[in-house]
Amino acid sequence: MSAGGNGHGHVGQRMRRKEDPRLIMGRASYVEDINVTGQLWCAFVRSPEAHAKIASIDTSAAKARDGIHAVFTGEDLDMEQGLPHAWVPPGVEVATPDHWPLAKGEVNHVGDPVAVVVGNDRYGVVDAAEDVIVEYDPLPAVTDPMAALQDGSPLVHEHLGSNKVHEWGLGSEDVEQALQSADVVVERTVVNHRTAGAPIEPRGVLADYKAGSLTLWSSTQVPNFVRLFTALIVGISEERVRVIAPEVGGGFGSKLQVYGEEILLAWVSRRLDRPVKWIETRSENMLVSHHGRDQIARVRMGATRDGKITALHTQITADFGAYLMLLTGVIPSLGAFVMSGCYEIPSVRVDITGVFTNKCPTDAIRGAGRPEATHMIEVTLEQLAHELGMDRLELRRRNFISEFPYQTPLAVAYDSGNYPGTLDLLLEHIDPDRVRAEADELRSQGIYRGIGFSTYTEICGLAPSRVAGPQVVGVQAGLWESALVRVSVTGGVTVYTGTSPHGQGHETGFAQIVADRLGVDPEHVEVIHGDTGTGPQGLGTYGSRTLSVGGEAVARATAKVADKARRIVAHALEAAPEDIEVRDGKFSVKGSPDKGMTLAEVAGEAYVPADALPADMEPGLEETTFYDPENFVFPFGAHACVVDIDAETGRVDIVRYVAVDDCGRAINPNLIDGQVHGGVVHAIGQALYERVHYDDNGQLVTGTFADYALPSAADVPSFETDRTETPSPVNSLGVKGIGEAGTIAASAAITNAVIDALRPAGVSYMNMPLSPMRVWEAVQEAKGGVA
């Protein structure tokens, strides 16, 4: 079967989404919209201290209030294990402190939960939480990861003896030598500051334990992980735990987690024998939903005078915050696998040091390690081009990888690519010389215009277990995906996927794939997701894996169904199964399009078997697949950004943004464009506006949307997007991933544009966020004035 199937060609169409009617009418059900009779509400008491011993907790006043059923603290917990960290890299020691759903004796960051109050009413539990009196003995806190590594630094976890979490390295052993023999070496300190996922729906949990079984609704990207760890930690047999991710209002990695609140509400529900509900406030979300990025890298790039990059070494200090959550430790390593970007660099090495600080833990946020890596390479490369006096795009072209598969020095093999192709297409949309001419004109008006580029590749489609799993990368899980495709008696199709969407459009994209292969309208293909009580075991949605792993599983399960259908039709029409094809909505005999059966007719035979089934065939028409790919997939592209900077105010305006991406074959271009737009704006947020900021005492300064500036519609432009299609050889669909690509690519393009704009003002390098104050200061400093 060809990549597009051989039916009506729904694949590749800009089909509008099947998900949308319920969402645009306000009829969708997110966790907060779900209520269970008899439910109680929970509110948390959280630490206002960044680091302290808990001297005492007095819950009596809270318990005495009307309608309060219970107040629990860490002392009440009877769990034998705490929250999971699922990364155990072979041969590397990772210092892993205990992490409990409620603090036991010590708090390690502002927001650490100290007690939970349970009562009748959502306002009443907040009142009661204010009546819980906690006395703290403050301990010195450390918030700067570099300072945390110094001798004499306060220790986040005294008993571990150090703030160092781990050291992990990958790549060429000879990189120091290679740098020494380079004609030119540029060295930069690249800071990827801390950001928040900030989905517009905060998290929420509703736990209903009764008669030995638990149903847990959670706003999560990974219901199966939540099920497994809830079962293990709370001590309920896994088959008696059902986790449902209903409508999920965005995740961006921040809901790829097993959170203490999920575990705790399950425990409280069992303890009280009542359903219990908790809805995170935005302030809590900023405090305790894991953050991302927070890496400081020393980047050294060496090259020959004529522009051949010969060596790259990045030494990353990664601020993990106070605890290791599900994948905290592995995030910078995900970036390491693509540290050489689109370039053939003979000697590349990445060294990572993880550090504890008294801040909220970091973990996956859209891109998870790869935006940081791309920023390091692409910004440093433009710095190198300036150093060499060479055109930035020419330098890229001289170093592009041209043959695939390409084995990098960083343990992975790129599946396919055409890097000059996306760059050429980008230049059809935007003429850098023209931007340069405009910049010369605008300067007299006090406006600095600049253009920046980013040519990226990234690694996604997590899977494959063989590499990502325990033996190589060290994630303690398989990373395959499953699908079950069920044809109903009347010929409608239900697909159960183990992926778990939060806005991506799985219901539409998967329906298009199935429709082509079974000769039905996508209208008659329903996709069920996010419920561990239905369908096979699955692994959720993250790492741009939905289509290349989950979608391929759907395609394979569908192919099995089509195969059985062909055998049924062949038997009924006395033809050979290999002569049956899907054409015009029917399984028909090749060359005799009149002779055929619709899927509904096939289902009739399968479910009401008279003599129409072959003798050795079971009745029914449904199939399951577990798919574990052979390799990752590597999307790529070329982005350009044009900015105008007001020298008086330091304000950066994005005037144009052009994105050319290649994510392999397109299933639904609308969904691709949507992911690119959103991904790019996520990076615009980091580059220009957003920063999770703690003061030196570990107080979170950006604790609300009034202080943490998500970009609004008025802050960003419309985008110009285009695509090339280089199929991935890894899966039969030929697809890669696109959920994170925009975020991975864009911060470097924006930063390069700002630096380019400010070069005439004497600025040669800047780190994000490129806020008006910092831009203005950089200009003043370059002038030699007092910033």
Partner: protein, 184 residues
Amino acid sequence: MASPVRVTLEVNGVRQSADVEPRLLLVHMLRDKLGLTGTHVGCDTSNCGACTVHINGEAVKSCTVLAVQADGAQVRTIEGMGSEGSLHPLQEAFWEHHGLQCGYCTPGMIMAAAHLLDTNPEPSEEDVREALAGNLCRCTGYHNIVKAVLSAARTRETGSAEEPPPPEEGQRTGQELAREGLGA
């Protein structure tokens, strides 16, 4: 706890009364007392706009209004905008132009956009971006939302059902609330 107060609203054309705590937010009355869960809460500082509804024809962030302040008002929520088979032009346009992904901000976006089109039937792209600056979306990058609103504006020019104007006094209350309570 202060004694409950009787609040009567006309919500989506239906008269609704409830005894509520004086501190109850309008958004919680709509969601928890009246079961209209299409209006969402995304922040606690009136920045995100997911809770935007119409009070006497004005777009208001319902997390910033006490239910008692809205007593006697006409309230319109996303559930009153359109239904299967007779969607509001903005709902159609958001669907057609892929103006939503996770859908959480969408009801508030549609309500804010509807108010824009009521007051400025032929907005420019900049008008739309400014009008929606108080409604945050993390998924779409706004590109397709803006496209959808501009497209709905064009559709509406060719005529569609308008909601009847609110009574004069109600209009004043609505404008007052909008001024006091709109937040960011």
